[in-house]
């Protein structure tokens, strides 16, 4: 039913996934985490009591870089995907033209 090369490719992917899953899990303890670690159980909240001074948010250069990379990567990825759709469309239209010419 399946071609041998595709079966091999499937087996290689499964092996790669298992190898990835088998690597020791990274556990982050309170001591390990960076000083910028925040309470992750209640994120994105403005839960400061009136009159109480909120702790200064971590404004490290690393955080700015991570935001920049996340947005740049996401939009470049989506743009690349849209371009690939356009290219595939043109190729298929060329195929339709060629096949219709044969009728």
């Amino acid at each position: 039913m399946m071609r041998p090369i595709r079966l091999l490719r499937l087996a290689a992917s499964i092996a790669a996934s298992l190898a990835l899953a088998a690597t020791p899990a990274t556990r982050v303890s309170a001591q390990d985490s960076a000083p910028t670690t925040v309470a992750v159980t209640q994120p994105a909240t403005s839960g400061t009591l009136p009159g109480e001074q909120a702790p200064a948010p971590p404004r490290t250069l690393r955080a700015y870089w991570h935001v920049f990379i996340a947005y740049a990567l996401a939009w470049l990825f989506l743009f690349g995907y849209a371009l690939s759709l356009g290219r595939r469309f043109r190729n298929l239209e060329r195929d339709v033209d060629a096949l219709r010419g044969a009728f």
């Binding site: 990274t26 910028t36 925040v38 403005s46 971590p58 219709r100």
Partner: protein
Amino acid sequence: METTTRSASAGVHAPGATEADDSLRGTRRWALALSVLAGATVLAALWMVFFYVPTEAEMGVVQRIFYIHVPSAWTAFMAFGLVALCSAGYLWLRDPRLDAIAVSAAELGLVFTTLVLLTGPLWAKVAWGAWWVWEPRLTLTLLLWFIYVGYFMLRGAAENPERGKRFASILGVVGAVDIPLIHVSVQWWRSQHPKPVVMRPEGAQADPAILQTLFVSLFAFTLLFFALLLFRYGLERLSQRVHALRVTRELRPSPLP
């Protein structure tokens, strides 16, 4: 437009060619209209993320990744939900249009899950001090990504394309079970991932500006998803037509020597 003119000049139409051309043109028009709307909403969302919403009190600037991470996850779940619905429909009705929607949504679901898996670690490295932690939500999301990679491998690996479509449809339905599991994973198991701030039984818990920005981002990503889905659906229908034309040509009796 160009293809219709050329085929007309050839004198013969492939069966159902003009109806298919009209339908494809309609899909493309809708896709373009939605793309313009999605582009405008995305720009509004980006303006809100970088100039309107205040910096979150506890996490600081890195929390802004939330406005791309959460909408990507929402869009991926919507895409895989659509895959499950259309796959079930295809298994029942065997309508190729349902399969075209399912495969288009599956590809987009993979794209948006990849975005979730790329943006999440960028936030986690600053917030947790680690790029990746094998905790329930992250692991189940990675599993979801692998399930739908398997969906495409199944489609491509079968000798008989119809059989491949059927197997992939079954996986498309079964794989969607992972979506509610991902959602409840932070409540059911010990999870390091932040708990929901909007979909909570007690109601949304966040600053109004944060919620407004999140909702605009969610809306922008939803529009973007449907625009891309229409383009991808048009592509899949065109691919099905190329396949049908090839089969018709092969079945045509060859002229006598």
